[in-house]
Amino acid sequence: MSYILTFANTHGAIFAEKTLLQAGYSVGVMPLPSGIKAGCGIALRVADHLVAKALLQENNIVVAAVYQASLNSPDTVYSEVLG
């Protein structure tokens, strides 16, 4: 799960997690990394941000931003994915 989705508020994050789980899509939860400014305190981790975003869009859930995580945890670097 190398992509991070952020949301404007906590309700959005909770609703997005539920929606993805109900669609059978694998999703992880994490606190918003301190280096990321855009979004509420909860972020979701997904393997494919395009699939996840499309599923959320069908349910009118707006994603605030998408970040890609480098894999060298715990010093993970998050870079914003535009578009």
Partner: protein
């Protein structure tokens, strides 16, 4: 040698009987063998033995029964001293939410909490799950990836067997091991610091 027949007996009875037999050996030590018919009893016996600093081994018999041998006494103690990198931190999670208030908020917070635990260095020595917290180690939990990462970092993940039995999710354990109350109490008592959620 003490042989204890615990066939048909469920935890914690085999552990209690084995513990009494080990205590009865006194300082001279000796060997206690316990015959059980389920793997959870075998795991709990071996955890109890390790917790007491004794060596143990088991033999699976053809009829499905398991013979657990515990060797107690001088020169048999397993090295169990905390290493320098040992955090001594035990985290006890007794529910599948975090904090009071909204349940759906609590359910997402606890998942974030478990992710953040994974980032701790050194990691907790134990993370204990009981009551509705047991759902977090079940195969349907979406915390498994984080819990497996913790386990890979050396954290012992224990879930209360009484609780998984109550919620009928024992067969669905997705990470770590089933423990009985002795295992949970032993982990808590051995903690340098305990976080209770």
């Amino acid at each position: 040698m003490n042989n204890i027949d615990c066939l048909g007996q469920v935890c914690p009875i085999p552990v209690i009987r084995a513990k009494k037999a080990l205590e009865g050996l006194g300082e001279a030590g000796g060997v206690v063998t316990v015959l059980v018919d389920n793997d959870i009893a075998r795991q709990n016996l071996q955890k109890m033995a390790t917790g007491l600093g004794y060596q143990s081994e088991y033999e699976q018999r053809e009829n499905g029964n398991i013979e657990v041998t515990i060797v107690a006494g001088e020169g048999c103690a397993v090295e169990s001293c905390a290493t320098d990198g040992d955090s001594g931190l035990v985290v006890a999670i007794g529910r599948n939410t975090m904090g009071e208030g909204s349940q759906e908020l609590g359910q997402i917070l606890i998942k974030g909490f478990i992710f953040a635990l994974k980032e701790l260095t050194p990691p907790p020595t134990h993370v204990l799950f009981f009551n509705s917290g047991s759902y977090l180690t079940g195969s349907e939990s979406n915390c498994l990836e984080d819990l497996r990462a913790l386990e890979a970092a050396g954290t012992v993940i224990l879930t209360c067997g009484t609780c998984t039995n109550y919620y009928e999710i024992t067969e669905k354990l997705g990470v770590g091991e089933i423990a009985n109350m002795y295992g949970i109490v032993t982990a808590m008592a051995g903690a340098k610091r305990l976080i209770n959620i």
